[in-house]
């Protein structure tokens, strides 16, 4: 999980851009200047970071609340272990799923191993997405000792500082 090693220059790249790039015609020129390397090198570095999966993509991040997506649900599923990889892949490809992971169970308190976060503009939309996933998983759902699935909605944000690379550490 922590195998993605980065060089000191790449670390500097992350520190400079984790809050975003400036909105201008040539954002990589600004970044090249900050890093004291050429624009070509900066673009090559960006492509390399993408190829290694360190950068997922260079994109705009909307405020989903302002776009009308005010509802989300963490859907959780008890999927047969032998088929969890295959069906996790399928759930991850649904357009309304933003995060999809396989995680360990903690029996008897927690029997779900597949997590899929869904986003919608209404509670009924969330319920509808849950149904769609349920249909997709119908043959591989099981019940260890609890229900086969659940949807957990967040009732309150208790903390949201995010993961940030510290400027001075290391």
């Amino acid at each position: 999980m922590s195998s993605k090693k980065i060089s000191p220059l790449e670390r500097q790249y992350i520190v400079l851009t984790q809050q975003g790039l400036p909105l201008c015609a040539k954002p990589y020129h600004w970044l090249a200047e900050q890093l004291d390397i050429s624009v070509e090198q900066t673009l090559a570095m960006t492509n390399d970071l993408k190829a290694r999966g360190i950068i997922r993509r260079v994109a705009a991040v909307p405020n989903h609340y302002k776009l009308g997506y005010k509802f989300n649900g963490m859907t959780t599923w008890d999927v047969n272990d032998d088929q969890a990889m295959e069906f996790g892949e399928k759930v991850g490809q649904l357009p309304f799923v933003s995060h999809c992971y396989l995680r360990p169970r903690h029996l008897p308190q927690w029997n779900f191993n597949l997590f899929a976060m869904v986003h919608g503009r209404s509670e009924s939309e969330i319920a509808q997405y849950q149904q769609q996933i349920k249909q997709l998983l119908s043959d591989v759902l099981q019940s260890h000792q609890g229900p086969t699935n659940d949807v957990l909605t967040s009732t309150r944000i208790l903390k949201k500082t995010g993961l940030r690379l510290r400027v001075n550490s290391k």
Partner: protein, 147 residues
């Protein structure tokens, strides 16, 4: 929001081309101009419709480790436990959720061992069990909200 704004939001969520003038290329695709695209995006940043644009990093590149953890907190102890959990700087997000396991938080640390230290500390300070649920496999990460 007009048609161009919507097209920009949809296109830019999926990703910008990596090149010297990415917005010129986007403008070409949408039959607009670089200046118009930049002006529209600035307005959307100013109004808070867009929060930022730039590289989206995989948190694994932070060189440390992170995990999702959950606790069953008795209702009457919720605020007290919340304060204890949030007092750890390694807690990046924390949400109250509708389940018997009603507190869900992300722990991000510089080293893998630190995860277990934080969990152990929280368990000692609260007397409650922390259920550690690190990802075993990632199938998909990416939020796309079409408008």
């Amino acid at each position: 929001m007009d048609q161009l704004d919507k097209q920009l939001i949809n296109l830019l969520q999926k990703g910008l081309p990596v090149c010297e003038q990415p917005f010129a290329q986007v403008a070409m695709e949408l039959g607009s101009t670089e200046n118009i695209v930049l002006a529209r995006l600035q307005l959307m940043l100013d109004s808070g419709l867009l929060t930022r644009f730039g590289p989206m990093f995989d948190a694994a590149c932070w060189g440390g480790d992170f995990t999702l953890a959950a606790m069953e907190v008795p209702e009457e102890r919720f605020e007290e436990v919340n304060q204890i959990v949030n007092s750890f700087e390694q807690i990046a997000h924390n949400y109250q959720r509708t389940h018997r396991l009603n507190m869900w938080f992300v722990i991000g640390t510089e080293t893998a061992e630190e995860i277990f230290e934080v969990i152990e500390n929280i368990q000692q300070k609260t007397g409650l069990t922390v259920f550690n649920m690190p990802k075993e496999h990632e199938f998909f990460v990416g939020l796309y909200l079409p408008v």
